[in-house]
């Protein structure tokens, strides 16, 4: 089967661990009594679920940065757009249970004296339509953006800067009240999803399992893409773009395909993130957020996929710990992490682990680097 052909032993280990987590956490939450030492509270389930969506987001960034050399500083925008699509579905599910009890309009629209639902809100009462939009909207934006950018050969730092400008412009736009997305406050006060109460532990566990499944699927998809001939061309583009072009490959088409796929993965991550944290607001578009995603990837190990997911979980766990115990030092730590990783761990945690393993098995260490390590 094409989806499993390129996973490899490390990949299977990753999927196995993911599967164990995906069963153990709901078990610990649902079946263990609250006073049991291994009981997972609903807070922990929500937190871990959030980490898993971040891991999927990091995976999507790694797919284009690690394998195609496209450093997107605007991936948070795709994540947020997916989140908004999900948020719009959840808003429609509130129905007349809002503060103003309007059967059709969400609360913020009633508050702003809107008379009817804007056209772009139509269809979001259907879950299937909303899920389609979760992938289509970020995908379409990435396609248009990439179409222009890659065709005119905007590369490297310039591309990074204009992706940043893109997410910045979107942030400013979504902050506007008359955009019809709740302005500053965003979308919140969700009640239920597909008829299940969002506050109940069972729903949270289901969302957790869904996030784990999405991460697993995303990982398998990314492995399948990078292992295929298509993926080899991507790596060639990363390492020598002009040479690949001279060999006759349509570089911009490859990049565009990878970029769009990655944006759709980010959109799915956003859609799973929103019901678990209960809010989506324009702050998610902030350029700083997008840069942070890149750091997760760098910490875990660029161009490894597993490393990206690992990095997202590790950095976010550190964030939870730091902001809880000494919030004023979190930015020192995060900033220090950026500097430390780029200076001393250019290949991330997985790179360090790899080096250590080779040191202990010195005689048989191969001199050639594995293909999935970036040359830079």
């Amino acid at each position: 089967m094409w989806l499993t052909r390129h996973i490899g032993p490390a990949g299977w280990t990753f999927l196995f661990v993911l599967a164990v987590v995906a069963t153990a956490v709901p078990y610990a939450n649902q079946l263990l009594p609250p006073d049991h030492p291994w009981h997972a509270s609903s807070y922990v389930v929500g937190l871990l679920g959030k980490y898993l969506t971040f891991a999927l987001l990091a995976l999507s960034v790694d797919l284009i940065w690690g394998y195609c050399g496209i450093l997107s500083l605007g991936h948070g925008a795709f994540f947020a757009l997916g989140g908004y699509a999900m948020g719009m579905y959840l808003m429609r599910q509130i129905g007349d249970r809002g503060v103003y009890a309007d059967p059709l309009l969400p609360d913020f629209m009633v508050f702003l004296n809107w008379q009817e639902l804007p056209w772009y809100w139509y269809g979001f009462d259907s879950f299937l339509f909303a899920m389609l939009m979760v992938m289509l909207v970020p995908g379409l934006l990435a396609f248009l953006f990439g179409w222009f950018a890659f065709r005119s050969r905007v590369t490297g730092v310039y591309l990074s800067i204009i992706t940043q400008a893109m997410t910045y412009a979107l942030m400013l736009a979504f902050f506007r009240n008359d955009m019809g997305f709740g302005g500053n406050n965003g979308l919140t006060d969700f009640k239920d999803i597909l008829g299940f109460d969002l506050q109940s532990d069972a729903t949270r566990c289901a969302l957790f399992v869904a996030s784990a499944a999405a991460l697993g699927l995303g990982f398998m998809l990314a492995r399948a893409v990078t292992g295929s001939t298509f993926g080899k061309v991507l790596v060639a583009i990363r390492d020598a773009e002009s040479r690949t072009r001279f060999l006759g490959y349509r570089v911009d088409h490859y990049k565009l395909a990878a970029f769009t796929l990655s944006a759709m993965m980010a959109g799915v991550a956003g859609a799973l993130y929103v019901p678990q944290v209960g809010i989506i607001n324009p702050g998610e578009f902030a350029p700083a957020n997008s840069i942070e995603i890149v750091v997760w990837v760098a910490v875990g190990g660029r161009g490894t996929l597993i490393g990206a997911a690992l990095g997202a979980v590790v950095v976010n766990y550190a964030k939870t710990v730091f902001t809880g115990t000494f919030p004023e030092y979190w930015l020192f730590f995060l900033g220090g992490l950026f500097v430390f990783v780029t200076l001393f761990m250019p290949r991330g945690i997985l790179g360090v682990a790899d080096d250590l393993r080779r040191r202990f098995r010195r005689p048989s260490a191969p001199s050639a680097r594995p293909a999935d390590q970036p040359a830079e």
Binding site: Y158, S160, Q164, A169, I291, E328, L331, F332, V341
Partner: protein, 535 residues
């Protein structure tokens, strides 16, 4: 009557200017007002007017209002106010309280209609013909506002005698205002309307609207044409005002981006901590002002000038430290540099937040930077003007420095061909460090200027970093002139769009425009040609 109220207010405020000796000269003339009959009083009024001393005007005002009394004991003329059955006396010039006497102890100086006319004429003469040009200008404005046809003969006289062109203009306008409303013939009124339309501000437009009401058709038509002309001119001025706002925003962008144009444009280093250098400059200004406030308040007007070199040194030193500590290990790896410097920016932000607190800090504005300049229909805030000039000065200084100085020569050499420069004996390491320090130092200087128009908070730099990159990329990397043109273009475009699109949407449009522009010209407005492109 309104005319005289206006004059009175004006003059009362000016009495402080008349010095004590002038008052003493007037004293015998004032005392003569209490002569006993109307004829003698009228003579004294004429004498007072003949002095041309503005201090006499408030006395005449009092006389007209019936507030002057003669004290029976010594015949001195004083100001009186009824206090029950008694009269409270005070000095006519200083307003100093003298005594309270019985009703019989002071006699009111009465005025009749003929005397009132004399007083009015004298007042007009004192103000319109006053030796003090400021008083005359104020009186002319008051005449324009009052539009009292009785003042016309006096105005004619004033026009005949006026020598200062500026006041002359105002007097003629005041005459035109009166004539437009009360002129005997249509031709006089039409001429006056033309005159007013020339002045062309909101006030004139309002006046013409009044004229257009219940007037002969020819006059109404002329007035309406005048209003239309004024509106057109105002629209033009409005446009010009927006352009000036745009230049002001552009100069802010230029200040923020010009340091980046060196580090990014010349060295190719993506310094995401650039905004924090700006912030450090702003906080240096804050610290300098705090020290001055507590230990040397008389230096306050110089605080910004003192802060400039210090901000350059502080930000420059931090810049050199960053280059030596982090960036030099990452040359040739722009994306890694981007991440590492972003980390540094987080650290710097948090450090400043820990030291100075997360809230906005107050940075004062020296006196010479407050107020505004009127220029035609434009009103330019002084601090904005200073920043525009300052930005251009920094830019010019930088260009000269890079072109003429030895260090500038080394810097350009290293940029063009590192290996060759090195073999010619240039210490490329030090040139790198100092170039980065220079770019950072200029960002620090920008911080001093920005502290005047923006909140000084740990997030100050964040607000500018994206804009700065846009400017540098738009203008063309490696080209300082491109940065200048880019900053001004973006600033003006932003401000011209604001009136019809709103501030946020205008900004979004500019961002989208830049994204599209980069597709068309990936190397910016003024791209470097030749081999440097491949570097």
């Amino acid at each position: 009557m309104r005319l005289f109220c206006a004059c009175a207010v004006l003059l009362l405020s000016l009495t402080a200017l008349g010095n004590a000796r002038a008052d003493e000269d007037l004293r015998p003339l004032v005392d003569a007002l209490g002569g006993g009959n109307f004829r003698e009083t009228a003579g004294a009024v004429a004498d007072l007017a003949a002095t041309g001393n503005p201090a006499a005007a408030p006395v005449l005002e009092l006389l007209r209002a019936g507030d002057l009394y003669t004290r029976r004991s010594d015949g001195v003329v004083v100001r009186g106010a009824r206090a029950g059955r008694d009269i409270a006396l005070s000095d006519v010039f200083t307003g100093e309280e003298l005594e309270t006497v019985g009703r019989r102890e002071a006699r009111q100086i009465r005025v009749n209609n003929s005397l009132r006319r004399d007083i009015d004429a004298a007042l007009g003469q004192l103000t319109l013909l006053s030796p003090d040009p400021r008083v005359r200008a104020g009186a002319a404005q008051a005449m324009f506002n009052a539009r009292d046809s009785a003042a016309l003969p006096l105005l004619e006289e004033a026009i005949a005698r006026e020598e200062e062109p500026e006041i002359m203009e105002r007097l003629i306008l005041a005459r035109a205002a009166i004539q437009a409303l009360h002129g005997e013939s249509d031709s006089v009124r039409l001429e006056a309307i033309d005159e007013i339309a020339q002045r062309g501000d909101r006030e004139a437009s309002a006046l013409l609207a009044t004229v257009a009401r219940d007037a002969p058709p020819a006059v109404t038509e002329a007035a309406e044409a005048g209003i239309a002309a004024i509106e057109r001119r105002l629209a033009l001025w409005n446009m010009a005002q927006n352009v000036v706002f745009g230049l002001s925003l552009g100069s802010v962008l230029l200040l923020a981006a010009i340091g980046l144009a060196i580090t990014f444009g010349v060295m190719g280093v993506i310094n995401m901590a650039h905004g924090e250098m700006v912030m450090l400059g702003a906080y240096t200004t804050f610290v300098v002002q705090e020290i001055i406030r507590t230990s040397a308040p008389w230096l306050f007007d110089w605080s910004l000038l003192i802060a400039l070199p210090l901000a350059f040194l502080v930000a420059g030193a931090v810049g050199v430290a960053i280059e030596r500590g982090v960036i030099r290990f990452l040359y040739g790896r722009p994306l890694e540099t981007l991440l590492a410097t972003w980390g540094l920016s987080l650290i710097l932000q948090q450090a400043v937040r820990t030291i100075f607190g997360p809230t906005n800090r107050q940075v004062g504005t020296p006196d010479w930077m407050t107020g505004s300049i009127e220029l035609g229909g434009l009103s330019l805030a002084m601090n904005r003007v200073v920043i525009i000039l300052f930005a251009l000065a920094v830019f010019a200084a930088l260009i000269v420095f890079l072109r003429r100085s030895r260090f500038g020569l080394h810097m350009r050499a290293v940029t063009q061909n590192r290996a060759m420069a090195s073999s010619m004996g240039i210490r490329t390491n030090w040139v790198d460090a100092l170039t980065f320090g220079l770019g950072s130092g200029i960002a620090g200087i920008a911080g001093v200027a920005l502290s005047q128009i923006d909140n000084v908070s740990p997030n100050l730099g964040q607000a500018y970093i994206i804009d700065s990159f846009m400017v540098v990329v738009f203008g063309g990397v490696g080209n300082l002139w491109g940065t200048l043109v880019g900053a001004m273009t973006l600033g003006v475009a932003n401000k011209l769009m604001e009136p019809w699109a709103g501030a946020v949407l205008a900004k979004i449009f500019v961002l989208v425009f830049i994204i599209l522009f980069i597709q068309k010209r990936p190397r910016g407005l003024f791209a470097l040609k030749g081999r440097a492109v491949d570097a």
